[in-house]
């Protein structure tokens, strides 16, 4: 009896999951299908999966006018720098909040926490003014510098560091280790999973960020992928094959990275859920 229920549940689950999976994948298949058609064949009813012939020309057409390779490199550069530095600053500060004693420590941390609830869009106007002051509008600095520090990252690292047993630290202190040594040789190595989690979050957030490049970047050569895509949409508004080709080009790299690094993504997300 138990086995039968289990089996039935399994089958139902399988069906549900497969239906859902089809819903997830269908838009992507449609995107590929449209990108391989010529413009005239797109406006037919009922829609066909393949046109009369497979048109590869939409892809070079997009890449021609929009340097997606450059967009990809820009996105990559910005995301990498932000991830790396933000992890560093968050870990350092997280350690200070978790393990060092200094006046107003807890009040300051509460302040950090409070800002988590504030929608970051509020800060866009003042940051724009600051960027203008430094002459960083339309440069990558405007996308990198403000993101080098994060209250969320600090919070996550502090929470994690709190869970590291005090004995390890005490032992190191007795051996005459400086706080930096403790941090560097004990805490950091132990926090690889937390760092990976945070790293994944930061990467995804920075990579897909749209509103900030929209506001700060103007020149085509400085655009990131989301912004480049939007610019392309502005230019080719109803040329769907070209638009789909462009979208495909922008998704492909992330897709490849994801397939190889799936484990890290997943672990990252699940860990954050458990900590939450």
């Amino acid at each position: 009896m138990k086995k039968k229920i289990n089996q039935r549940l399994q089958i139902i689950s399988y069906v549900v999951l497969t239906l859902g999976a089809i819903t997830m994948v269908l838009p992507f298949l449609w995107m590929i299908s449209t990108s391989l058609k010529s413009l005239g064949e797109v406006f037919v009813f009922p829609p066909t999966f393949f046109g009369e012939e497979i048109v590869w020309g939409n892809y070079p057409k997009v890449a021609d006018r929009f340097p997606f390779g450059l967009f990809f490199l820009n996105s990559l550069k910005i995301s990498f720098i932000v991830v790396f530095v933000q992890l560093f600053t968050s870990a350092l500060a997280g350690f200070a909040f978790a393990r060092l004693k200094f006046p107003f420590r807890d009040t300051l941390f509460a302040l950090y926490l409070a800002t988590l609830m504030i929608p970051y869009h509020i800060t866009l106007v003042p940051i724009f003014v600051i960027m203008r002051y430094f002459g960083w509008i339309d440069t990558h600095y405007s996308l990198i510098i403000p993101s080098l520090v994060s209250a969320f990252g600090t919070f996550l690292m502090r929470q994690f560091f709190l869970t590291i047993p005090k004995e390890l630290e005490d032992a190191a202190r007795i051996d005459g280790c400086t706080p930096f040594g403790i941090f560097w040789r004990i805490f950091l190595p132990l926090s690889k999973p937390a760092l990976a989690t945070l790293g994944v979050f930061i990467f995804m957030g920075t990579w897909n960020d749209f509103i900030r490049p929209l506001i700060f970047i103007n020149s085509i050569s400085k655009m990131t992928i989301p912004l480049g895509l939007s610019a392309m949409q502005g230019m080719y508004s109803t040329d769907w094959p070209v638009l789909m080709a462009g979208s495909m080009i922008s998704i492909l790299p992330v897709l490849v990275v994801f397939i190889f690094a799936q484990e890290y993504f997943v672990r990252g997300i699940t860990l954050s859920g458990l900590k939450g």
Binding site: F43, R65, K77, G135, I137, F216, N218, G234, M235
Partner: protein, 427 residues
């Protein structure tokens, strides 16, 4: 530890390298505009090559921008990172000048160009209190494009291209009805589209045609609440809601997903009200294209406007910027683009009989286009949006959008519009 230091160094290196700006001994001008078509951009770029040959000490970098152009330009100006020379839409020109961000070109202009060469509405457009802050690029007007094949099949006469023979509204609606075809309850062919498109602004011509006005003489009051104006607006809405001859089209950006030019080409649409600039694109599509004047209520009216070329007040190279502006607003440059159908001339003498052949390219313009020329010189009014603050004009478009797309009544919409707009006009 070592690996970490290496990574840090590399990143630092990237940041440093990035901050090393490229230096040049040539003057480099940043030139920004919007792209009306890829063909236009390529002609622009070719012409700029020629400019650079004639001016070896000036380099021009042209960036066509897509998206919200005025907002983008203003953000760049506000961010202290503006181009040296740029397109500026005629309805943003005065607002930008008021903000003090445009270079005063009056001295340059008076020395090297002559205001009286330009058609009257271009003069009116360029001069702000007798001073010049931008030079008009060309002229454009809304016209009526149509698919001759659909008219032939229905046995109907083509829309006239002589403004004196313009169709009265009722006759126009009648023709549109005959050209609207339904199959299985779905409309497969529409009679007309385009009266509600924001950037074509045909509504202001129709209001004027019916004897109404959008604003009063000194632009301090909105007059769309007059019965004539309301009648014209209601009739435009009726095209879609009552007569069913127009498809549902959102008054501003996102449309149903197929462009109206594609609909005209494939026979889904018989008549299209659109800016004269669309001629370039339509002439390249393979179908029998006709061009006519807009229908009239009482008088035949169209509007005229076009973007101007201006320079940033903080440009480091005002003299070179002027050289570029003079080049792109010159007769030669203009003629090249007029020949493609994307622009109409803005110089008086180009409209004279003997000069028409210079720009009326037979591959693009219909043979009898000469009949239509007087539409642009005698029956066109300067677009009213030029003389009012951008904020007021966008409220008008927003409310009109509400009117055309929802079920709100004309009285509700206009009174709300007036309440929002009049205070701005009087600031």
């Amino acid at each position: 530890m070592k690996k970490l230091m290496l990574v840090i160094l590399v990143i630092f290196g990237i940041l440093v390298l990035n901050s090393l700006a490229m230096s040049a001994d040539k003057v480099t001008l940043q030139f920004m505009g919007w792209e009306a078509s890829p063909f236009e951009t390529s002609i622009t770029e070719q012409s700029l090559e020629q400019f650079m040959k004639e001016n070896p000490d000036i380099k021009v970098e042209y960036t066509p921008v897509s998206g919200e152009y005025p907002a983008k330009l203003l953000t760049m100006i506000a961010g202290d990172a503006a181009p040296d020379v740029f397109f500026i839409a005629s309805d943003s020109y005065r607002s930008f000048q008021k903000r003090g961000v445009l270079l005063n070109l009056t001295e340059y202009f008076n020395k090297e160009m002559d205001i009286d060469e330009f058609i009257p509405l271009a003069q009116d457009k360029m001069l702000i209190n007798g001073e010049i802050y931008g030079v008009s690029s060309c002229d454009v007007s809304p016209v009526l494009f149509y698919n001759k094949k659909l008219f032939d099949e229905a046995g109907l006469p083509y829309p006239p291209n002589d403004p004196e023979k313009a169709w009265p509204w009722d006759k126009f609606v009648d023709v549109a009805k005959q050209l609207t075809v339904k199959k299985n309850g779905k409309t497969v062919q529409y009679g007309v589209s385009g009266f509600t498109i924001e950037w074509v602004s045909a509504f202001s011509a129709m209001v004027k045609s019916n004897g109404g006005r959008v604003f009063n003489e000194d632009y301090t009051e909105l007059l769309l609440d007059s019965p004539e104006a309301k009648e014209a607006l209601v009739e435009i809405k009726n095209l879609q809601r009552v007569y069913g001859v127009s498809p549902l089209v959102i008054a501003n950006v996102q449309q149903g997903g197929i462009s109206s030019t594609q609909m005209l080409q494939t026979g889904r649409l018989a008549m299209l009200v659109d800016g004269s600039w669309t001629l370039q694109q339509l002439a390249e599509m393979d179908f029998p294209l006709g061009i006519g004047v807009l229908p009239k209520f009482k008088e035949p009216v169209t509007i005229g406007q076009a973007h101007l070329y201006s320079a940033w007040i903080k440009t480091k190279h005002p003299d070179e910027a002027w050289k570029l502006i003079k080049f792109v607003s010159s007769r030669e440059y203009q003629t090249k683009l007029v020949r493609t159908g994307i622009w109409l001339p803005n110089r008086m003498d180009m409209y004279e009989e003997e000069n028409l052949a210079n720009w009326m390219n037979p591959d693009v313009y219909p043979d009898d286009f000469g009949n239509m020329v007087k539409y642009f010189t005698n029956y066109a009014e300067l677009w009213v949006a030029v003389k009012v603050p951008s904020e007021a004009w966008s409220i008008i478009n927003e409310e009109l959008g509400n009117f055309f797309v929802t079920d709100q009544s004309i009285d509700t919409v206009i009174s709300r519009m007036k309440k929002r707009v009049d205070p701005i006009l009087n600031k």
